[in-house]
Symmetry: C2
Subunit: 219 residues, 2 copies
């Protein structure tokens, strides 16, 4: 698979612009668990994910985390180039959740493209609007949904991503995704276990009753 077929507005930009991108494009293979980006000063560039999985999260002053969205094959990571937008006044961190292959368009080259091409600027708008929508969804979850529903939703999402009901994930990691403390997650999972929804063993959470978890999530 070539980068050209991955970049949705390839046919809408000029040959000179195409050349400028191909000349500066960087391809990287990155191991799972690598922090790719940890705040604006990096401003690496736009990531185009060929294969793998990233998560974007924010950090509190005390080091607590919450996952704001995840990116998969063919997704584009805009905030790794947040310096191209003056009005972005927040920092996200980005790390690989699986071994990942991606292309990088350097921030400077992408900024030039956006300034010249309405198609590229509007495309950027759509990416940002999509991420904004995910953050608004999360905001609604954290404001209105109780933690039991959020843990149930997270387990179901994770099982769908992994295509397995046996999840190799620690309570600490779940807490970092959801922006809470490990103890809260442990208490919740034990309650789920008592209700027959999951089975817990060292470093593993197995989903036993998806139907019941879905009911809880939607209740």
């Amino acid at each position: 698979m070539e980068f050209q077929s991955c970049f949705p507005i390839w046919d809408k930009i000029s040959e000179a612009q195409q050349k400028s991108i191909l000349d500066s494009l960087i391809f990287r293979q990155i191991k799972k668990g690598t922090v790719l980006y940890s705040g604006k000063e990096d401003c690496t560039g736009l990531f185009f994910i060929k294969s793998g999985q990233l998560r974007a999260y924010i950090l509190s002053e005390e080091g607590r985390e919450i996952t704001i969205y995840r990116l998969f094959d063919w997704d584009i990571c805009l905030f790794s180039a947040s310096c191209i937008l003056r009005s972005i006044q927040f920092d996200v961190c980005i790390e690989t959740e699986k071994d990942t292959e991606l292309w990088i368009i350097p921030a400077k080259i992408y900024r030039q493209l956006m300034e010249q091409s309405a198609a590229a600027a509007n495309y950027t708008n759509e990416i940002m609007a999509a991420r904004f929508s995910e953050v608004m969804w999360l905001m609604e979850q954290t404001m209105w949904k109780s933690m039991d529903k959020r843990v149930a939703a997270f387990l179901l999402e994770e099982a769908a991503i992994e295509n397995s009901n046996r999840l190799n994930i620690t309570h600490e990691t779940i807490a970092n995704h959801l922006g809470t403390h490990r103890e809260v997650v442990t208490r919740m999972l034990r309650y789920f276990q008592g209700e027959g929804m999951v089975k817990l063993s060292r470093g593993v959470t197995e989903l036993l009753d998806e139907q019941k978890l879905k009911q809880l999530k939607n209740s």
Copy 2:
């Protein structure tokens, strides 16, 4: 004051584009407390605020509210035209908090402009990035900050907007801004009163000790 001097990219668009905006531009005077927009199906257009004050908020299924940002003189409201971006998958409501005068560019006209002009598309990007930053700030507040600090911050912000330490605001309204219940706000304000930070009377909260409120906010 003319619309032209209010629209930051006026000099970067063509005469034909300028004419198309002026021909379709709507000027409205709206009373305080009017809901201007209550979800995507409206898609009225971009609001340019000449004078006044708007707030954008989200609603839970149970009717709870939380203010996500406020707009003042010269600000631009993008989400009243959210249909121009396919990827916006959330609904906000917008209401006037003071008597307001504003211009509206119809959504269809603005979409055309964005498609033709990289300057307009990039300008839209910057507006969205600014709102995104406000929502991320709010997310951090709701995730990491306790309610006492959020109430203190809200009172100080409100006093700055009103340029007065005597705030005509009900506990219900404060609760709707912060996404919590009236009882929580009442309990907090009584605690603040006990500490000598505010004085409560019917429909009025008076700030007595700004310094102490600031210390609490930043603690």
